[in-house]
Symmetry: C2
Subunit: 393 residues, 2 copies
C-alpha cells in the first residue's frame, strides 16, 4: 500500500529572467559567503555581478570563494567552510553548476559542524556520526540543467585520496531558495548540455524503477522523460533556443524533486565508481556510457514500469512479444542519445582500461551501497562487473 | 514562456497507519490548541485520543476546542482564536475534515493578529489590511479526502451576516505538518465521500484550465483525474476498501498541491455563492451541481486542455469532429458522477429556488472576484447567471 513522507523545503523561482527577482526575496542572513567555481563563466557572463547586485540592494554583505573545481574535493569544501566560519558568514550562496551548488551545501554544513565532512558521511569510509548542528541557510543559483541539486539535499563530494565519490545530505542541506533561470544555461556548450540533461533522464528513470518511488515522484519522473525526449536534442543543437533551454531547466528542477520524493538506484553508484578513478569523465557522461547495459539488465525485473517509460518516449509496443516490450525503453533511449550526439561515448576515450572494471564495481558497492538497496533486484558484484564490461568500449 | 514560483512549506506523512508516526515528529511548540468539530466522529472513533496520546508521549500540553461547525463561521473561529491567545497556546492542531483544518488555520492566524479576520480578507467586504504577524504553527490531521486543505494555505470561512463565504490564506497558514492517514477516512459515508472526492476532481480540472497552471500543477492535476476516475466509485461503493480510500486520500492531498502550484477558477466562486445562502449544501455537492454547465461553457475556450483531460478519463476522441472533442470531457465526467451516485443532485433538494440565480451570481462575483481572474475567458454576470440557470433543477 502507498506510504511515504513528502517534504520539499526549497522555494524555487523558475523562469527566464527570474534572477532579477532575487533582489526582492527575503535573505536568510546578513553576511553571505558566495561560492563559485574556479572557472570563468559566472564572472565573464555577469551572473556573479547580478547576484552581488541583488545582495547590495538589500544591504547584505558578502565574501567570495572562487576556487571550486569541476569535481569538488573534500579538502576544497573544508577550506571554504573554515573561511566561512572564520569570517562569521551566516548563509551561503552557490552560483554555478551542480558541483558548485553541492559544494555550497557542504560548506554550509561544515561551517557549523566540528571535524571533517567524512566524519558524517554515512557510506564508504565515512564515520556516519550524527550531524550536530543544522547547516547555514543555502541559496542556489543554478547555471546548468540536469542534476537537480537546486531542489534536493544531496551533495556529491570527492575524497581524492580514498577514491571515494559519495552522495550525502541531511535535511538542512536543502537550499532554502533556488533560482532556476534558463537564460543562465544558454552558455553551456552542447556536449555538457547533452550529458547533464541525460543526468535528469537517469534521475527520472532510476527514480521510477526505484523501490523508493512514490506517486508524486512518478508524476515528476514521467514529466522529465517527456521533456528531455522532446527538448534535449533541440537544446544541444541550438544552445540559444530558449524554449528548449527552459524545458530542460524544468526537467533539471524536477530531477531534484524526484531525488527528494524517491531515490536514484545503483546506476548512480556505478557511475560514481567510474569517476572516482577518472575525475575527467563528467558524471552525466558516465551515466550515459553505462545506461544501455544497466537498463537492459533491469528491464525484465520491472517490466510494467519500463513499458510505461517506453511509451512516454514515443515507442509503440503494439503486437509485440510481452517479454520484448520492456526493452523498447532502452531502444528509444539509445535513439535519444544519438539525437543528442552522445551515443558513441567510450570509456577508453577517458583513459579507462578494461582491467579496471572489477575495481570500479567494488568501489561502487563499497562507497554507495545505499543506492544498491534501492534496486528492486539486488545486484551482485559479479553482475555489476558484467554491466561495466558490457559498457566498455 | 514558463515562469512560476514553487513553494510547498508543508511536510506530509502519507499512508495507512501514519497517524502513529505523529508521536515521532518534532512538534512546533509546547502547548497546543487541538481544534475539532462539534460532531462525534473524531471522539467516537478514537482519532482525537490517538492525537492526544502522541502529544502526551512528547510531554506537550494541550487544550481542546470542540465547537467547529460544518460550515465554519467567522464568529466561531474568532472565539477559538481568543481562547488560544488567552491561554498562551503556541501552536494549533486541527483534527477533522477540511472545515476543521480551515478553522485551525483561521484560529492560528487570528491568535497572533489584532482585530477581526475580515480586516485581512482581501475580497468581498474584507478590508484587505496587511497581516501583521505570522500565524501560529499549524498541524493538520485530516479525516476526509478531497479538499486538500492539508497541503495548502487556504481557509474557507463563512461570514453569516454578510452571506460571504470566502477563501483566504497567507504564506504562514500552510500547515507545517500534515498527517494523511487513509484509515481515518473509512468512516466517511458514501455521499460525502463522493462529493468530497469530486472537490478534488474540480481542483484538478480547474487548476488545469486556470491561467495560473504550471508544469508542476499540471502533473498533479492529471494524476488526480486518473485517481478519482479509477478509485472514487470504489470508495463510494465500499467505504472499507482501503486501497480505494488510500488513492482518494492521495488525490485529496494532491488537490491541495494543485491549489499551491496553480489555482481554482470561478467554478469555486460560484459554488461558494450557492452555499453562502444555503449552508446545508455541501461544498462538493455545489461543485457537482454546477460542473456540467460550467465545463460545457469553458470547453471551447481551452480545447486542447479539455481533450487531454477527456483522454485521462478514458474517453476516445478518434474520428471525431474537432469542435466536439473538448466536450467529451464533460460527458466522461457525467458518467463518473453517475458511477458515484451523484449525477442527480438538485438545487431544489436543498431549498434553492430559481429566482435566486442572479443573487448568487452577484455574490460569487463580489465575494470571490479573484478566482474569476484565473479564468482564460472572463465571465460576465449574465454568463454566470446562465451557468447557474442551466444547472438548476
Amino acid at each position: 500500500m502507498i506510504s511515504f513522507d513528502f517534504s520539499v523545503p526549497t522555494k524555487v523561482l523558475f523562469g527566464a529572467g527570474k534572477l532579477e527577482s532575487l533582489r526582492r526575496e527575503k535573505m536568510p542572513g546578513k553576511f553571505a559567503l558566495v561560492v563559485i567555481s574556479n572557472g570563468k563563466t559566472v564572472k565573464e557572463r555577469g551572473y556573479l555581478d547580478r547576484v552581488l547586485a541583488a545582495l547590495k540592494t538589500q544591504g547584505i554583505d558578502y565574501l567570495i570563494w572562487d576556487a571550486i573545481s569541476a569535481n569538488p574535493g573534500k579538502d576544497e569544501v573544508m577550506a571554504a567552510a573554515q573561511y566561512a566560519r572564520d569570517n562569521f558568514c551566516d548563509f551561503v550562496i552557490g552560483v554555478g553548476g551542480a558541483s558548485v551548488i553541492d559544494s555550497a551545501k557542504a560548506v554550509a554544513l561544515m561551517a557549523r559542524n566540528p571535524g571533517d565532512l567524512w566524519d558524517y558521511v554515512v557510506t564508504g569510509s565515512g564515520k556516519g556520526l550524527p550531524v550536530r548542528n543544522p547547516a547555514l541557510p543555502i541559496i542556489a543559483v543554478i547555471t546548468t540543467a540536469g542534476t537537480g541539486s537546486e531542489t534536493d539535499q544531496w551533495m556529491v563530494i570527492d575524497h581524492r585520496e580514498l577514491n571515494e565519490i559519495i552522495g550525502f545530505g541531511v535535511p538542512t542541506t536543502f537550499p532554502t531558495l533556488s533560482v532556476v533561470d534558463p537564460e543562465l544555461t544558454v552558455s553551456v556548450p552542447p556536449f555538457l548540455t547533452a550529458v547533464q540533461g541525460f543526468d535528469a533522464f537517469c534521475h527520472a528513470a532510476e527514480g521510477f524503477i526505484s523501490k523508493a518511488a512514490t506517486p508524486i515522484s512518478e508524476a515528476f519522473s514521467l514529466q522529465i522523460l517527456r521533456l528531455v525526449s522532446k527538448f534535449l536534442p533541440r537544446a544541444v543543437q541550438n544552445g540559444g533556443d530558449l524554449e528548449a533551454r527552459t524545458n530542460i531547466a524544468l526537467a533539471g528542477m524536477l530531477s531534484g524533486l524526484v531525488q527528494t520524493t524517491s531515490s536514484t538506484t545503483s546506476l548512480h553508484s556505478i557511475a560514481h565508481g567510474l569517476t572516482a578513478y577518472h575525475p575527467d569523465l563528467p558524471h552525466g557522461a558516465a551515466l550515459t556510457i553505462l545506461s544501455a547495459a544497466y537498463f537492459d539488465f533491469f528491464a525484465p525485473y520491472v517490466p510494467d514500469r519500463f513499458i510505461k517509460m517506453a511509451h512516454i518516449l514515443g515507442a509503440s509496443t503494439d503486437n509485440m512479444d510481452e517479454a520484448q516490450k520492456p526493452f523498447e525503453f532502452v531502444k528509444a533511449m539509445k535513439i535519444l542519445q544519438e539525437n543528442c550526439g552522445i551515443a558513441d561515448l567510450k570509456m577508453s576515450d577517458y583513459g579507462i582500461t578494461r582491467d579496471e572494471m572489477e575495481k570500479m564495481a567494488r568501489n561502487a558497492h563499497k562507497t554507495m551501497s545505499n543506492l544498491f538497496a534501492m534496486d528492486r533486484y539486488t545486484l551482485s558484484l559479479k553482475e555489476t562487473v558484467s554491466i561495466l564490461e558490457k559498457s566498455f568500449r
